[in-house]
């Protein structure tokens, strides 16, 4: 982080090596389009490089900050895309019911950050289906509470309750996580 803030270009290269697979994975998970996901990756690293001085370490580690930028940028792209209805159908087919959790591939275990991925993945997997479903719709599709309620045909209060419950469970399980990048 210090090297990034000191405008060390090598630090940016190292950050890319460490985080690009995760950024691309998250963007692809949201967009289901390789080209658009790569465009998001490009935007994210440009933004991180230009605005790294805005990151306050006291408010959180670097990796979640980068993932947050990735999610916001990908959701922006997703919302823009949703305005074109001809793409919406393809998106719906791509996001089938069993698509929320993808099993980790063993050969990827050498990727930096893999242990952390396993922990987060496991924490999400331990959630009951109904909680995991609302978390997935909120986080990966950027839906509001009322949109989730309409999508799942459930009362708005139920959705809010489930999101709150999921938040507590995940907070408990992930509180110990630390950034693997210094």
């Amino acid at each position: 982080m210090r090297r990034l803030k000191a405008r060390d270009e090598h630090a940016l290269r190292e950050l890319y090596e460490a985080l690009a697979p995760w950024v691309l994975g998250l963007a692809y998970r949201i967009l289901h389009d390789e080209d658009e996901a790569e465009e998001v990756v490009s935007d994210v690293f440009v933004k991180v490089w230009r605005h790294v001085h805005r990151h306050d370490p006291r408010r959180g580690p670097l990796v979640p900050w980068v993932l947050s930028i990735t999610r916001n940028r990908a959701l922006d792209e997703l919302r823009r895309r949703r305005r074109w209805w001809r793409k919406a159908d393809r998106l719906g087919q791509a996001q089938g019911p069993g698509d929320e959790l993808e099993n980790p591939a063993p050969h990827e275990a050498t990727v930096p950050g893999w242990p952390l991925h396993r922990e987060v993945h496991a924490a999400l997997a331990t959630l009951p289906d109904e909680l995991r479903r609302v978390v997935t719709l909120a986080y990966f599709e950027g839906l509001s509470h009322s949109q989730i309620a309409r999508r799942l045909q459930q009362p708005l209060g139920t959705v809010k309750t489930r999101l709150r419950a999921a938040h507590h469970k995940l907070t408990d399980q992930l509180a110990h996580l630390k950034d693997w990048l210094e």
Partner: protein, 194 residues
Amino acid sequence: MTDWLGMSVPPRTPRPELKGRVLARALARRRRWPLAVAAALVVVAAGVGSAWWAQRTITALAAERDRLAARVAALEDTVSSFIHDPATRLVQVPVSTGGRVGSVTIFADSARHRWLVRCDGLAPNARDQAYQLWFVTDKGMQPAAVMAMDRDQPMVMGLPLPRAGEQVRGAAMTIEPRAGSASPSGPMVFHLEL
């Protein structure tokens, strides 16, 4: 909690060419500075050049304006002296050219031996013709001026009288070849004895 949820997604290996593209774009801003500075210098140089050129043009135009103003003042003075001098005689001759009615006004200054002639409403000449003004003297017709009228507008000219010894008794105007004639040969516009 949600800060870490992005890590629940398995990583994807980016295509190798993506790295070069991303880094080039991210670092482009810093490397663009020299270009921006060069562009700024070009803009500044162009501005300075334009300002210098504009200043030079303004100076030249101001000098030309002063020169023309002095010339106009001199002409006004000349015209005024013609018109208001007690020795000036005013003669106005109605003329008809090409079916149009116009006039030739002569301010004859006997003290300074010169005329100021103003022609109004003369029809424009054919391309190979011109109006020629003549002094009528006791020794015959002497050429005074050749006036090619290509445009329909008044014409004013100052004319010195013939040398001493030739008494000017009148004026005449004819239509002659464009280069003028030594003696009248074309149609007479007017002939006047003063």
